[in-house]
């Protein structure tokens, strides 16, 4: 099962930032990308996230992982939008006399791709450079109740556990004659019930045990909770926010000044 954290442990000034700062930086970068239809503005915003990932010493992985998700999806998007986008008028590249790529569709797909990278890049950077525990602590400081933060945080231990239980259930059911390999789609869907039912019953028992363990540690207690690792604003946080905001303003106004808006290629 492909389950691993986005978080990459490095010692960098970006990792040390308060997660709330990274949230603000994400917002600052995403705003121009959402607000404008300019490919260049979105590219500039994405470039900024790559720069920040370089500060966080995760740039190669950051670019590689985003590409791994985005490229397979965007090849069909370019094909479908380029050929069939209803707004398409201007022919760019002919495949058949009646089937050709149109400029409007290609521009639409490119704006979509660059905007997606700019908007989600900042969020991915946040999860890549933030220990999940710190993210939870800062979310609680922003007002997320413990009763929502705890289940999310504990899912990091529980999901791999559920997965390993699924493997045991699979083996147990196979030893009873349930066929799980080399079967058709309908047969595979039928195996859901014998596989998930024991998993669910195990989950109910486990939840019962966990609730006792939690109560023994004062989970429902009304007193203010403390954190093992505390997150705080420092001078560096303010510095990062100011520098990012200034860069975004400078880049956006530069693009607006140089490239006339709107233009046929959506630049």
């Amino acid at each position: 099962m492909s389950f691993r954290l986005s978080f990459i442990a490095r010692s960098s000034s970006f990792h040390e930032l308060d997660p709330r700062t990274k949230l603000i930086i994400w917002g600052i970068i995403a705003v121009p990308a959402i607000a404008s239809n300019s490919i260049l503005a979105c590219l500039a915003a994405f470039f900024l996230t790559v720069l920040l990932s370089a500060v966080g010493k995760v740039a190669p992985l950051y670019v590689k992982n985003l590409a791994k998700i985005v490229v397979p999806v965007f090849i069909p998007i370019f094909l479908i939008q380029g050929l069939f986008n209803p707004a398409g008028r201007t022919p760019v590249l002919f495949i058949l006399p009646w089937l050709y790529f149109k400029r409007e569709g290609i521009v639409f797909a490119t704006v979509l791709l660059t905007r997606l990278l700019a908007v989600f890049g900042g969020g991915y950077l946040l999860t890549m450079t933030t220990r999940p525990g710190d993210l939870m602590a800062s979310m609680q400081k922003l007002g997320l109740p413990l009763r929502v933060a705890y289940p999310l945080f504990s899912a990091f231990q529980i999901v791999p556990m559920i997965d390993s239980r699924l493997q045991s259930v699979k083996q147990a059911q196979m030893s009873r004659g349930l066929q799980l390999e080399d079967i058709g789609i309908v047969q595979r869907l039928k195996t859901y019930v014998p596989l998930i039912t024991p998993l669910l019953m195990g989950a109910i028992e486990e939840a019962y045990r966990r609730s006792i363990a939690l109560e023994a540690r004062g989970f429902s207690s009304k007193v203010k909770k403390t954190f093992l690792r505390d997150v705080r604003f420092h001078g560096a946080d303010l510095g990062f926010i100011v520098v990012t905001a200034l860069t975004v303003v400078a880049l956006s106004s530069m693009i607006m000044a140089v490239v006339p808006q709107p233009n046929p290629w959506g630049l």
């Binding site: 479908i80 999940p132 999310l152 899912a155 997965d163 998930i196 998993l199 019953m201 609730s211 989970f219």
Partner: protein, 199 residues
């Protein structure tokens, strides 16, 4: 065998209800993992079960947190879809409270289950189409659904209606299969376990 309806339409915030949430998130994740290679997603099975067994608000929380979890771990684009997954858990729970999901094998119950499936498919379509259109230009990521979407576009449809129609076709398939699985599992869980949850 008619059963007593659970009486609460509020989040089951007992420590037990809270402890169930990460486990149901796990069921969502392994379920979508089991569905790889089939035409369906099945990534809302845990939310549906949480909605039915624990309560609508817990279904909502399980759905939302599943996608937040995916966002933090392996899928940077999962966050917006938390609304879709949450809505499925919530609506499945509401219908369970209304008595649409009972632990009995009868024709009437199969009919009721089918009604819930259709409602869930409509809810999923209405919530996910705007996200699909604004993020991916209307595509969904399942090749057979994108094929239908392309067909509608080639037929002269606009992006939004084409995406919505393709999404509905895929959602009705996904929700009928997934919710029937959820209901079958719910029936097979011994009553004593369900009582533990609703104690």
């Amino acid at each position: 065998m008619a059963e007593t309806k659970p009486s609460r339409f509020k989040i089951e915030f007992s420590t037990f209800g809270i402890a169930m949430i990460p486990l149901m998130i796990g069921i969502n994740i392994v379920s979508s993992y089991l569905a790889a290679g089939t035409p369906i997603w099945a990534d809302t099975l845990g939310s549906m079960l949480a909605g039915i067994i624990i309560g609508p608000m817990n279904g909502l929380v399980v759905g939302i947190l599943t996608n937040v979890f995916k966002w933090i771990t392996f899928d940077p684009f999962a966050l917006p879809y938390s609304i879709v997954n949450g809505a499925i858990g919530l609506i499945a729970g509401v219908f369970a409270l209304l008595g649409f999901v009972r632990r009995e094998m009868s024709q009437a119950q199969v009919g009721r289950t089918l009604i819930v499936c259709i409602v869930l498919a409509i809810v999923a379509t209405l919530t996910s189409t705007p996200i699909n259109v604004s993020l991916w230009g209307g595509q969904t990521g399942k090749p057979w659904v994108d094929f239908i979407f392309t067909g509608f576009l080639a037929g002269g449809w606009q992006i939004f209606p084409a995406s919505m129609a393709a999404e509905f076709i895929s959602d009705i398939t996904d929700k009928i299969i997934t919710f029937f699985i959820a209901w079958l599992i719910y029936m097979r869980v011994p009553a004593q376990f369900v009582k533990t949850v609703r104690r």
